[in-house]
Amino acid sequence: MEDSGIGLWGVPLAILAGAIRVSTPFIFVSLGETITERSGRINLGLEGTLVFGAMTAYAVAVMTNSPWLGVLAAMATGAAFGLIHGWICKWPKVNDIAIGIAMMQFGLGLAFFLGKSFIQPAAPHLPAIPLGFWSDMPQIQAALNINVLFIIGAVLAFVLRWAFKNTRVGLILRVVGDSTDAARAMGINPDLVRLLATAVGGSLAAIGGAYLSLYYPGSWNEGISSGQGLMAVALVIFARWNPIGCFLAALLFGGAGALGPALQSVGVSQGYYLFYAAPYVLTLVIMIATSSPTRSLSGAPGALSLTK
């Protein structure tokens, strides 16, 4: 009997492969939310934006036979959702956390409604770069079959970090996020900046959704998301609003998500539900460990209404 399995090595390999595969939506959503939160606004509706982006990308890809047009369409709808969120939240007395939840429910409902006729058809997938060509083993080749979006996301994380520090736009964003009054004193319109920041954030989140439906798992149906949009918001806090931190945290998550099936494949199948809860437990533990009741979270934008 030919043994083409890789035994226990399957677990770390699966974690690595999973970290790359499963993390990509987290990367984009958390980077988008970082931009939004750096401007002082919290957008909890990204789950709805993500799913709607997934649906739009899939639908457009089916209709035009081009996955990249699907991604662009998703970016447009994500920006639209972000603009709606941003515009509504600028009015006084509107609770932006509650609006986020409402946008989430609205986005999910609209996505399921419009996406009904796209559950069956198959859409063309986004391309992947086979970075594992140096290996003979099919498992390593498959694990290192990295999607273009992952690479874009990684690059984006570094670009954002540089941009926050070194560009004028980054400075404006941070000033608005730290103090609305200081921004006004500088002649900046905080509402406009937040509006644009939320739109950009929504756009990136929608790319994360497009990845889900056009690459992994590569299908559109109503169960496509398992809370990635919401967990990404938690990731941003964990990563202290630092884009590189978001990237690393997303990788951590992806790995944790791949743990369950990987362990089952090597025979550890007791209590598999508990392994499936691993990403959520991990997020919670990290949030508890890194939060403090007295000091405001270091790096938190001053105008953010997170724990006011």
Binding site: A98, M103, F106, F113, G227, I237, M287, S291, P293
Partner: protein, 376 residues
């Protein structure tokens, strides 16, 4: 209160309307939420109608079906009431902490764990105790577990500064995983072959229907819980302290109010109500704990609470309204060929519009009671 004026005509007129003033003042104060709320609902329905027109269907038919399916016959009304019953409790799980300024959206977790706790405690005592004792113990077990779960989110918020919206949601996901693990593993009834469940309650132990109606007692439990919550918030000093803390935590702490204990206490009470919803689902509907406990009642409860502006008494009609919308969903699907997500779009639209209309409170002078106190 008379008006100081030198114009005899006005003073005579003011004297005549003096008796009306307190009434008008009362109306002005109460009218604001009702007028703005109703306007918001109408705007939401109008936007939704535009959406339906854009999809090529008739909004008039849709609203007619909504009425038929939700309230058009005794059967429909009972359908709506049945669906509203769990929402009453899960909405309280959002509304009570919201008065403290906390946004808790993880009620679903408390519901499922409450259901598991209720089923678990029933296992050893069924048969040895009469039904009423078993049901009460199940309720207590569910309330304790639910209270601990959401209370944990409140505790983490005050003592560790962890954002309660995110933590309660994470706890909800973890709770669902735990529920699945218990129901399929430890507590599984071997006879529940193709649908892993706990051992079913014998029929005489189940929570029955309200006499003369096709709706289970859970509805009454929910209404009672809403009334108790209202009394807690509006009448007791504990509730008063909570509302102050909700307005301004710093001021409350300066006053010496035990903010930490208030937060922990309120979130625990909120969670206990959600847990009770899980117990009702087990005792009145399913007969056992299984994966169907995660039916989204916690999430719909969020919408009910916000629509009711976190007022426990207002939760009752709002829950019934939403139950009616849900109830008509099936009819809309069958008669108009629209997907079941249509109801979700309506709920989402209403939610957004109602939240947006918060900005209009205090803007219109006509609702200002002070206006009516003085001249007319």
């Amino acid at each position: 209160m008379t008006v100081e004026t030198s114009d005899p005509a006005i003073s005579i007129a003011s004297e005549k309307t003096a008796s009306l003033r307190p009434v008008l003042e009362w109306i002005a104060r109460r009218a604001e939420p009702i007028v703005i709320g109703l306007t918001a609902i109408l705007i939401g329905l109008a936007l939704f109608s535009l959406f339906i027109l854009a999809v090529g269907k008739s909004p008039a038919t849709l609203f007619q079906l909504m009425y038929t399916g939700g309230f058009g016959s005794w059967f429909s009304v009972q359908n709506s009431l049945s669906r509203a019953a769990p929402l009453l409790l899960t909405a309280l799980c959002v509304a009570l902490p919201a008065r403290l300024g906390l946004v808790i959206i993880g009620g679903e977790g408390a519901v499922v764990l409450g259901g598991v706790a209720a089923a678990a405690i029933a296992l050893p005592i069924v048969g040895t105790f009469p039904p009423i004792v078993v049901l009460v113990l199940m309720g207590i077990a569910a309330m304790v577990i639910g209270g601990i779960w959401i209370g944990l989110a409140g505790f983490l918020r005050h003592y560790r500064g962890v954002n309660e919206t995110i933590s309660s949601l994470l706890l909800a996901y973890i709770a669902i995983a735990l529920m699945n693990q218990f129901v399929e593993g430890l507590l599984r009834d071997p006879a529940s072959l193709n649908k892993p469940s706990t051992k079913p309650l014998p029929p005489e132990y189940m929570l029955g229907n309200i006499p003369g109606m096709d709706v289970h007692w859970g509805l009454v439990i929910g209404i009672v819980a809403c009334i108790v919550s209202w009394i807690l918030i509006e009448v007791t000093s504990y509730g008063f302290a909570a509302r102050i803390a909700g307005g301004n935590v710093r001021a409350a702490q300066i006053q010496g109010l035990p903010v930490g204990r208030l937060i922990a206490g309120f979130t625990a009470i909120a969670g206990s109500f959600a847990g009770l919803a899980g117990m009702v689902e087990v005792a009145a509907v399913q007969g056992s704990a299984n994966a169907s406990l995660a039916a989204g009642y916690g999430y719909t409860g969020i919408l009910v609470a916000f629509l009711a502006r976190h007022n426990p008494l207002a939760i009752i009609p709002v829950a019934i309204l939403l139950g009616g919308i849900d109830a008509s969903g099936g009819l809309i699907q069958r008669r108009m060929g629209l997907p079941d997500a249509t109801v979700l779009v309506l709920q989402g639209t209403l939610f957004i519009v109602i939240l947006f209309c918060e900005t209009f409170y205090g803007r219109f002078k006509i609702f200002n009671p002070d206006l009516w106190k003085r001249s007319l």
